[in-house]
Symmetry: C2
Subunit: 234 residues, 2 copies
Amino acid sequence: MSDVGHTVRSYDDELRALSDRISDMGRLAEKQVLGAVSALVNHDAELAAQVIADDHEMDRMERDAEAAAVDVIARRGPVAIDLREIMASVRIAGILERVGDHAKNIAKRAAAIAPEQPPIRISSSLQSIGRLASSQLNLVLRAYTDRDAAVALEVWRNDGEIDRRYTSLFRELLTYMMEDSRSITPSTHVLFCAKNIERVGDHATNIAEIVHFLVTGDPPEGERPKADESSSAG
Amino acid sequence: MSDVGHTVRSYDDELRALSDRISDMGRLAEKQVLGAVSALVNHDAELAAQVIADDHEMDRMERDAEAAAVDVIARRGPVAIDLREIMASVRIAGILERVGDHAKNIAKRAAAIAPEQPPIRISSSLQSIGRLASSQLNLVLRAYTDRDAAVALEVWRNDGEIDRRYTSLFRELLTYMMEDSRSITPSTHVLFCAKNIERVGDHATNIAEIVHFLVTGDPPEGERPKADESSSAG
């Protein structure tokens, strides 16, 4: 919101309503990621099915957010900061919809490998990286709601930790696959799930960049902390 | 463009310039995908490095396209079809930037596994699915340029073929990994590359949906042909 406020009260309300849509999407995205990882780790096919079903809600919310944004643009002809706000909300809605897709992908694999037991060490690493990714989502949505560039920067800096854990998980899984060929199929699915979680972290970082730019007019300073070394791992 | 044309000539020019930016991005995206797959299949580390370097250009083009769109919105206050056109261009630019990311990811793995020789059968399947994905990109950009809903629908329907080939490649790779544990590390990288190519196909389909909606006002009819069964494969 701009500092001076708008003379037409309902325009402010419209902008706030748009912002609220994004927060709602953020909450659902966080819930979907936690649900998907929980379904995977606990072999919970029912929860997996629920996450898959709820992804339609996420898609609907994105379409509605974009339609609302277009409607405000068409009727109000916003400029400067308001237009930047609206475009940011459209971009964040698009990113959250993709986070939802990653959760759905994890849930699909959870449903597929439900009867097989992955090693418990992996479960614990998966849960911990999943919690980290969803807490990044939570934090960046708070940064968005409060228009807080410092919190956005914190999210942006945290991403390296998710990437490091992903790389370590990747190496661990390859080791299991080499030790026991029966673990190859389930491990491959877990590998894709881990990659999906790592991507959720990337998306949180992308949102952090948008929020930082929205508040300060500048991108976060310095090179993005990129620590996923798995492309060259092994 | 609307049928009646605009009285202010430079407005039309601006809309056309925005559309041209998308076409330029599309051409680069297609080149990046072909380059990445070629680098992977031919163990060409130099080409891989080139694709990785060129991704910055893709990112820059997306930022410029969005800035140009925001500029047109702020100055012209477009409504109805023009606003729909502009929002579509922003969304397509975002998708093409992600296609570029997939190409970069493939190129990074190509650089990592360059010294190792994957079985030639996989190379041929990879090349063929890569060509299919980039021809889908080419076709959907043509649909966009010509505002041709029928061509968009063709792209949308073709995606099932990419998914089928991906699933078959996925199963083939798992078999190799089980037969020979030394192939696990390179096969895992190839698996991720194949997944990246499959995602490029999805993105072409997403663009097809946007173009179809832009031209007809409706999404393509029927359920999207989704044939990636690899989540439950093996």
